[in-house]
Symmetry: C2
Subunit: 409 residues, 2 copies
């Protein structure tokens, strides 16, 4: 018998029929002898509807009130799922964030969990009752309702699993696991049975939007085994786990990419200390998020400084960069918006040389020009022209043997 | 400077524009130097939508979960109104029932308020903040969310006014006060400036659905001056107050009626003790509500026992009555569904003789036959054929001088 925390997202709670389907799944796990604690999101679209209502009155109004309003979405679904469980003979009880309680700081709309009192949930489990907990929300020390920000229900699931010392936290979603790359780009993409927390973090931050990044960080920190499973298709999903528990570690786990990139280069900047801060400071102050940063030292005492931003921020970033370039005496600013980033992710590359060269060779053989390169311990990212995205992903997928049925490289 | 509790119903909170209108009203009272605590209902239709969703999963499911779900409607509107107030420069803070807290018993879906801790609301008022409180809801001793049943927001308003020792509780609705009778039946109906709690109770229970009965009882018990006002039309509304504060008390306050009646007569019942219980017991056990009861002693040692029920319960009540009549050896059961009840209400009739005879004379002059009569200290009700409803109301309205501009009788 295991204690399992299951989290079901908005799509899984999207209608009365789907809620009843979830109830049946929960009942199945319970019938197999497990204790189950369920965490749910609001019905799909509901949080957006509520926030739109709030914004229509006061777009920049009190965040405390935004949270008061937004938290009602999950309060409805916990009640509905508890009713659906009760109807099929599974004793159940719903809990809002404050009823658990899940204590957070007061950073409304993006609060962080500080402490969970799991005693009531544990007592329910021991009494054969399935607690259904509202994801995405908590209570601060003033007694106000808080929300954890987008995707916060994943974090609630992991945090509850940690507090309950659960055997596994299962994240039910509309995909059946984590893939080597996006199957829409490479139909030969393969579902991974296992992946490490670090790899998952790199994949998640690179646009594989299966899990909220914070929940993966949290799971890694508290060593909660995390499994991504489909609500609609039975299967083992993908287990996200600690590195040292992986027996035969594959070299490369997957290929991630983001289309939403734009590149800016401040060229011919006099090379002296403080250049990076002088350029990126004003960009950051304008609330523009910077992704990759590459600086090349030139031969003539000047340097080219290149960085990428989200495509929607390109115009504003260009404007600021031109101003800064003038002040710094740089030669000029150029940029591009028709670019993408493709990344190879794998903890195996730590202990294997030659991965980068293999990657660049494969891309060159396919005639793909690399505009920027950036590396981390378990990731190599390249920026290329957007038209080569699919070709690059398929080329690398094949080169590193990630296809379904292929032997890991 | 006065402390005023204002309650706004679902129609007043029905859209973003209406919520902003309410915010402006509240700001106006505050600008005139008053402290205001606001109680709101859910947006019109929202509570029905939520309960329909719950029922679609499990019509007879856990009432605790029904309340968990239904209470979200007000949690949305408190947040929206707080945002609207903040936007026009009025500091505001929203409170759910549990945040106040408003403590209730655990009779889910029809809980009763036991205790209110008004200290946070009072502190807000003193700090110039307008608290916006969710009506209709509270928290029980297990920490579960409870609701007070239909119209419970009125009760929340009155209970808060009592706890805060407010100078007045204003109930904002879509009518501009309490009328001498329904203006759709008698266009000459007149708005009452004042009415006593007792009269209001009689009018409310007779189908003048301006206020929830429990809230009037509560206001009477705790001596909270209650005012019915329109959200949409400026005006003084109707003040519901203690009898002894009324200077020139009118004889009759108004004429109430209910169309939704059906009459059953168990005729020729052997007249012995326990007859009423024998007949009404099985009706009550079938959850059928009984309204009027009249028993006439006959000359032949038998009695005719007549009572009224809601029209939708007529068939079931008839079936049960026939069975009971057989057991009691009664002559038979007859009934009618095309009947209505018309009532004259007024505290003045306590001290004035001749009201009943004036009423019967007026009805007789109009050719209206009376089927049943029932009286209480401040009310005389008659059951008549439905086709005479409008005629009876207008006849009595004129006979007792209730018309607009007429001198009270």
């Amino acid at each position: 018998m295991a204690l399992i925390v299951q989290k079901y997202g908005g799509t899984s709670m999207g209608s009365v029929e789907r809620i009843e389907h979830v109830a049946n799944k929960v009942a199945g796990w319970r019938a197999r002898g497990h204790q189950v604690v369920v965490v749910v999101s609001a019905m799909s679209g509901e949080t957006d509807r509520l926030l739109k209502l709030a914004k229509s009155i006061s777009p920049r109004g009190s965040r405390r009130e935004f949270d008061q309003i937004a938290a009602t979405g999950e309060q409805v679904t916990i009640g509905l799922l508890a009713l659906a469980l009760e109807k099929i003979g599974v004793p159940s009880r719903s809990y809002t964030g404050w009823q658990v309680p899940i204590r957070t700081d007061s950073a409304y709309t993006k609060a962080r969990i500080q402490d969970i009192d799991a005693s009531r949930l544990r007592a329910d489990c021991e009494a054969g009752i399935v607690p259904v907990v509202a994801g995405f929300q908590g209570i601060d020390e003033t007694g106000a309702v808080t929300t954890l920000g987008r995707g916060g229900s994943d974090t609630t699931g992991v945090a509850l699993a940690a507090a309950l010392k659960a055997d596994e936290c299962q994240i039910y979603t509309d995909v059946d696991g984590v893939y080597t790359t996006d199957p829409r780009v490479e139909p030969k993409a393969r579902r991974l049975d296992k992946i490490t927390f670090e790899e998952m973090l790199e994949l998640a931050s690179l646009g594989s939007k299966v899990l909220q990044i914070r929940s993966v960080e949290f799971a890694g920190k508290y060593k909660v085994p995390l499994r991504v499973v489909s609500t609609f298709v039975d299967g083992p999903g993908t287990l996200i786990t600690l590195e040292d528990s992986m027996m035969e570690e594959p070299l490369i786990s997957g290929i991630a990419f983001t289309r939403d990139e734009a590149q800016l280069t401040v060229a011919g900047v006099p090379d002296r200390p403080g250049i990076a801060a002088a350029i990126l400071g004003p960009i950051g102050e304008a609330n523009i998020e910077i992704d990759m940063i590459v600086q090349n030292v030139g031969a003539d005492g000047t340097t080219d400084f290149t960085f990428t931003v989200q495509r929607t921020d390109y115009e504003r970033a260009m404007e600021i960069s031109r101003k800064v370039a003038g002040e710094l005496g740089a030669k000029g600013v150029n940029g591009a918006t028709d670019i993408v980033k493709v990344s190879l992710v794998g903890v195996g590359m730590r202990s294997h040389a030659g991965i980068a060269s293999k990657m660049f060779t494969a891309l060159a053989a396919a005639g793909i020009n690399i505009r920027m390169i950036s590396t981390s311990e378990i990731k190599i990212s390249v920026v290329i022209d957007e038209i080569y995205l699919e070709l690059a992903v398929r080329t690398l997928h094949k080169a590193f043997g990630l296809e379904d049925g292929a032997k890991p490289a």
